[in-house]
Assembly symmetry: C6
Homo-oligomer: 74 residues x 6
């Protein structure tokens, strides 16, 4: 993969949250590199509450990392 992550620093907590989302997605992308297959899976899990909660959990874990890297934007 080309460069997609050069820093964990973000301007605001919200941008940090959005970076956490990117990290969660990248974890999936590295495991399933086919964009076509990932797209096909989307309608199903995006309409399943537990699947969405699971995704939200991965974001939460990455957000811990990003927030620490930014010293919680203090």
């Amino acid at each position: 993969m080309s460069d997609w992550l050069t820093s964990l620093k973000t301007e605001t907590p919200q941008e940090g949250f959005e970076l956490a989302i990117t990290l969660a997605r990248k974890g999936v992308e590295y495991t399933q590199p086919s964009a076509a297959i990932r797209k096909k899976l989307r309608p199903k899990y995006a309409r399943n509450a537990d699947s969405l909660t699971m995704v939200s959990q991965v974001i939460a874990i990455h957000y811990q990392t990003v927030a620490a890297a930014n010293n919680y934007w203090k």
Copy 2:
């Protein structure tokens, strides 16, 4: 999305908990942006104990971040 998170600081541990809930929900919202679909999913998972426990877990993970950002409101 418009600005929804400008700081992780809260006045009290309870407000911090409520911010953690917001973060958990935002993780879902970014993944399923349709409010109509999310609303449709609600009755089912809100009556399923394991689904509720899973949501509570995501809140717990975010609460770790928010609590650290607030130095545990010491």
Copy 3:
């Protein structure tokens, strides 16, 4: 909701554990505010080992936060 959490400080590690339990339950309460529905769900998950393990996990995550907030009661 009225005030239910004004501090993460507790006298003992055990009270901290009990606070972690409260936090885990509050995560469910905010998501399913109906006490009647929550009560109805109880008999089933309280007799399912995996459901109980999941609840125990949420408590464990909150206990990390509470323990850190109390500097591990050192």
Copy 4:
């Protein structure tokens, strides 16, 4: 419940691990106080690999807390 946890300090990393197991079980006990029901659930989950992995995960989370409380027995 009577006093069961007065300190997170242990002599060795192994005793710390055993304390983490106690904490994981206490999370279940507070949620399902009936020893009879818990005993009834045991044969099933103790013969299910995923259930055992889930229990092991809760222990792992508590072990993080106990290890930090003991400054990793350095």
Copy 5:
């Protein structure tokens, strides 16, 4: 159980990883002490991707502890 864990210190990050695996297995062993039953469960979960991912997750959690105990082998 006899002594199996006297220190979280390891020479290298890889040995630390292997210690994390031991900790994950010990969590199962304490819960299901019968080696015969554990052996019987193995063929099934070792051929199930989600079961393997769950095991990998417990290892990951323990590796956080072991890595911190070793100051990340800096």
Copy 6:
């Protein structure tokens, strides 16, 4: 196994992410050493959204460790 991990240090946050992926896979490899079996499992879980989310979660947990080991590449 031969040496595969001599340091948690990486040049960039992205290389750190890729190391986290390696760690997640190694957790599976140690549990299921047969490359043939692991390859056989791949088509199924790589086309299942929840399985991919679970893998992404393990990566996220390891990334916390790797990021801390690198002081967040500050």
